[in-house]
Symmetry: D2
Subunit: 133 residues, 4 copies
């Protein structure tokens, strides 16, 4: 709710449809938190050796979602080339994390939850890319 | 909701009471996003020269909340000294941002919203510090 | 020097030629620091109103370089699609920041220095992309 | 060298002695990169199960050094309370990472290199705290 309020109070025009923008900023924040938590949960598992790829991809995805969420939150003097490229990288990182988390979803509930967060974030980035035209 | 699900699925014991932990992680994420948005909204205002201190403190606060939210989200092999110190810095950064945003709350709605997010985050960090004992 | 030592001590094979990798990680760190400093110096200038676009693009570039530098520093279980996309976004963000900083290079020395850091980082990312094949 | 050039070109007075400031910003960047690399190298080791605490503390330390380096790089409208608290947290995080990395320094060269980077960063933060008065 804070994200929408902040955007509605912004002095400059939004870079895209407000609903798509809010969903994307919130999904990036949610996915960054999930991936940080999933990497840490993997690290605490007895089968940590099987989870090495998942940890690595979740760390990458958390970094990308964190940066993308900040960039997309900015409405002042936007450079659409930078924004589009950041969103495209976020799609790629979420897809990679999602694919790996899904492989472990049956035996690690945190991977199942994280896979869904990655999937929602990928979709929200795709939708914002479409809304940017 | 994802934050709680991730913590409930974590293989290791939580570092503190789950409610206090969830509130703190979510408040850090919310405050980081608000401060990033507020600094950017300030930058887009006609009176940007009056907003320089607000921009600076919001950038600091976004950085601190981002780091603190990640640290507090980790439950594996915690170092309570690091966690406590991070939470204390987050309290200080939120308080500074809150004080400056409040000064502009009457003429900039985004500062009013951001001041509230900073206040909630300061409180959530204080509560988690208390819960850590 | 630390970056090279860390990579030489890594148990897994490097994702690419070590020289290209070291240069890219160092250039990302340098550019992130320059852009953080340039946005802050702009904010302290009397003509801050003319520097709004420069501040915004430098904040974006600092975020992208920070994330890219972390991703490229990781050698364990790499996903080359994620790495390539991150490097491509870094090229786009550095180019945008470089172009804007250059416009102010004559009257603001920090913009001149920052433009050079952006340019070196763009080049180091391009070189690493080429080395990745 | 870029860090010093950026600070010398800054329109506002530096928050502290320039040498102490430059050393601290550079040490934070170096330590953040080392800790990111060390966590990743640990993850690639055959004895990853013994390295879980090292990974976790290095991830925390990288987050804290990243945020602290950005905050200390800013000279415009500083809040010394925020800056001091950030530096104190950085000292605590570096000390924790250093202690754990040292335990593994004999069998993992990357831990030996990382322990030194943590130590230099702790010292540089202490020195800047002293220079701030």
């Amino acid at each position: 709710m804070t994200v929408r309020q902040m955007l509605e109070a912004h002095p400059r025009p939004a870079i895209a449809d407000l609903d798509a923008l809010v969903r994307c900023i919130e999904a990036c924040g949610d996915c960054a938190a999930s991936c940080t938590g999933c990497a840490d949960a993997d690290l605490g598992e007895d089968d940590v050796r099987e989870m090495v790829r998942c940890i690595r991809l979740c760390l990458d995805c958390a970094d990308v979602c964190g940066a993308t969420g900040r960039i997309v939150a900015r409405q002042t003097e936007p450079d659409l080339g930078v924004i589009r490229s950041a969103l495209e990288t976020c799609v790629v990182a979420c897809r990679a994390s999602h694919a790996e988390c899904r492989r472990h979803a049956e035996h690690h509930e945190h991977c199942r939850v994280c896979a869904e967060a990655c999937n929602r974030c990928e979709q929200a980035c795709q939708d914002l890319l479409a809304a940017l035209g």
